[in-house]
Amino acid sequence: YAWDAHEEYLFRAMVAFAMRRYSSKSMTQISNVLLCNVTGRVSFWFVVTESSQNLTTVPGREVEAAIRLTRHRINSAFLLSDKTLQFLKIPSTLSPPVEPSTPVWLIVFGVVLCLVVAAIVFLIVGGIRQRKR
């Protein structure tokens, strides 16, 4: 999809949503989010201003923390991922690899070993029987 003014509006809405979710200030409006330096690469800077006074900006750390909290929602809104939608200075938290309770390989190993031991016992017993005859 192409990046136009409507997408920008959605982005500002998502950032406002993130601020509302994070901080007690639930009065952040979309108009408090300002974008600047928009380039054709689709990269830009943005700041969030205090709702009451339009001149001071919310400290960067708070914005970072807010975005971190709702990163997944922001990604989904734009159908992007952590790799394709990058926030500079906000590293993505890594998801730990899935580890099942019993390692899968032990199960496979158990199956293989049981089959082999059963076959060995079968052959040995067969040999003993043949010798008795």
């Binding site: 689709v42 390989w105 070993l113 052959l123 040995i124």
Partner: protein, 611 residues
């Protein structure tokens, strides 16, 4: 002079159910892991298609004659290696003992390689594959450092599978998961060799044929992968200049020799179970040609996959560079594609040289990716596993690949175990009342206990040592004395007569010339060249040391003297039996030279020759 009664046809010796089992066993023994992971590597570094020239010359003048010799010998004498050489002449009985010793040493470490294959096989049932992701470190903040600096595949191989120590002198601890897999592998070997060829004959139908099936599947899959043609072109483009390097000829000769598994005594054991009237000449030519064809056939999927991996790596490199450029110059997405990358780079270099240089772009060169050649365990467990991650449906490919490697190795193990088992069965020390199952069980148990030392942290270093020293030099010595023994002690005229009796025709001029002159001469030259090269090469090994500055490159370390002593011991131990036993019999003969009842060696010959 009374004619001794004719030997009964049924002498209680086990025999093959049919000829196919015998041929498949020989092929399975010859076709092993080396066909998949050593031959393509040699082809690649020695000028591609041009390597086939020395390879086929070596096959013609060294491989086929020696193979025919061993098969004919076993079939003629109908005994395992120790007794067979004792019958030819007690003075060269040492050759038989030497090959028995080599078979034992190789069985020890070869099954540990199969252990690794089995470990990877049982780990292939996970989603995602365990070697595709890096685990997190203890605080769960970042990826594990060792894994991050090298690759996930390297980490899984060196840390999670081998748990390798940084030095061969540090033994580390026994890795319990490897012990489990080792036990399973030896159990499988015991299952298949429990009654000698009765059971291996049945198992060989599967283990010898299955790899071809999987190779074909990989061939079809490999050829459809993008970049396969680059890999194949790289492999087969002949570079005739390499033929000027004598190293290439030496590698071809040694590759043919070790690939056909000559000198182990296993082939003699296999053919000793044949009926006496069997065309061993045709068998020898068939086995040798099938072995070489398999090497070539296996090289195709291997190189298709390697070409695919190189192309993917090259594409990733380009993409990373494109990403940094786009980020730096704020260009719109998809303005730089792979096709116009070079045009863009030259434009940017001319217009903004400092900014472009500041990006520190890695130069992406497809040739460089293709040049990364690996052989041996590195090919299977690092390079190939990485390529498998990139394929769709990786679990299935991984499972197929490791089952194929396992069958290849297992059929070679049968030959090794037979080389140990058959001579023991025939020794008079082992009384007839010991059932075969018990003897094979004892062999497998003893080998398992000794092989536990390979599951230590430093195990893979020791396996490299065994591979380089125990299974290379002694085989050359043994094969040389085999040819000399048959041609000059047993006398080639008698041998030709035996062959005429077995196959119905005398060996033609080709066999006469190669047996008498060319093969022994070639073996001598190869032996001398090999020893010279080994001595010149400094005895170093590449160690995996996470604390090394150049990590993830491997650290070059020198073997300590006691390890070198073991290397020399391994190389000399099988060879030393040849002169020792000759000396022993010489002394015995000199002491009892007054005793007229001492039997002259000439009296022994092929059974039933007195017709």
């Amino acid at each position: 002079l009374s004619v001794p009664p004719e030997m009964p046809k049924e002498d209680g010796r086990p025999k093959w159910d049919n000829k196919l089992q015998y041929i498949l066993s020989c092929i399975g023994f010859a076709v092993g892991l080396g066909n998949v992971w050593r031959f393509p590597y040699l082809c690649q570094i020695h000028g591609g298609g041009a390597f086939l020239i020395p390879y086929f010359i070596a096959l013609l003048f060294e491989g086929i004659p020696l193979l025919h010799l061993e098969l004919a010998l076993g079939q003629c004498l109908r005994k395992g290696s120790i007794s067979a050489w004792n019958s030819i002449s007690p003075y060269i009985g040492g050759v038989g003992v030497g090959s028995w010793m080599v078979s034992l040493l190789v069985s020890l470490y070869y099954n540990t390689v199969l252990t690794w294959v089995m470990w990877y096989f049982i780990n292939s049932f996970q989603e995602p594959l365990p070697w595709s992701v890096c685990p997190l470190n203890e605080n769960r903040t970042e990826l594990n450092e060792e894994c991050y600096e090298s690759t996930a595949v390297n980490y899984f191989w060196y840390r999670r599978s081998l748990n390798i120590t940084p030095d061969v002198t540090e033994s580390g601890t026994l890795q319990w998961w490897l012990i489990l897999c080792l036990a399973a592998c030896w159990a499988i070997v015991y299952l298949c060799t429990i009654r000698g060829i009765e059971t291996t004959g049945k198992a060989i139908y599967v283990t010898a044929v299955f790899p071809y099936l999987v190779l074909t599947i990989f061939l079809i899959q490999g050829l459809t992968l993008p970049g396969a043609t680059d890999g194949l072109a790289y492999l087969f483009t002949p570079n005739l200049n390499t033929l000027k390097n004598p190293r290439v000829w030496l590698d071809a000769a040694t590759q043919i020799f070790f690939s056909l598994s000559l000198g182990f005594g296993g082939l003699i054991a296999f053919s000793s179970y044949n009926p006496p009237k069997n065309d061993c000449e045709k068998d020898a030519v068939t086995v040798a040609i099938v072995n070489s064809m398999t090497s070539l056939y296996a090289a195709i999927p291997v190189f298709s996959v390697l070409g695919f991996k190189a192309t993917t790596g090259y594409g990733d490199c380009l993409d990373r560079n494109i990403n940094s450029i786009i980020n730096e110059f704020d260009l719109p997405e998809e303005s730089i594609m792979r096709q116009n990358y070079t045009a863009w780079i030259s434009f940017l270099n001319s217009s903004y040289p400092e900014r472009t240089a500041g990006l520190k772009l890695k130069s992406c060169d497809l040739q460089e990716f293709l040049d990364q050649s690996v052989s041996g365990t590195g090919l299977a467990f690092i390079v190939f596993t990485q390529a498998i991650i990139l394929m769709p449906g990786s679990q299935a490919w991984a499972i197929l690949f490791f089952i194929m490697l396992f069958s290849l190795g297992l059929s070679s193990m049968f030959g090794n175990i037979e080389g140990v088992f058959t001579p023991l069965l025939e020794l008079r020390i082992i009384s007839k009342s010991i059932p075969k199952e018990l003897l094979s069980g004892i062999i497998c148990l003893v080998c398992f206990l000794i092989a536990l030392s390979f599951t230590l942290g430093s195990g893979s270093y020791w396996i490299d040592i065994f591979d380089s020293y125990a299974s290379s030099l002694p085989l050359l010595v043994i094969a040389f004395f085999e040819v000399i023994g048959v041609v000059y002690i047993y006398k080639i005229k008698r041998f030709s007569k035996d062959l005429k009796r077995m196959t119905g025709r005398k060996p033609n001029l080709y066999w006469q010339i190669t047996w008498r002159f060319i093969s022994p001469l070639l073996l001598l030259i190869v032996f001398i060249a090999f020893v010279t090269l080994q001595i010149q090469k400094s005895p170093t090994y590449a160690a995996w040391n996470p604390k090394y500055e150049g990590f993830p490159m491997k650290e070059e370390k020198v073997y300590p003297p006691w390890v070198l002593a073991i290397c020399v011991l391994l190389a000399l131990l099988p060879c030393v039996f040849v002169p020792l036993i000759a000396l022993f019999h010489l002394i015995k003969r000199m002491c009892s030279s007054k005793d007229p009842s001492s039997v002259r060696p000439e009296a022994f010959s092929c059974q039933g020759a007195n017709s």
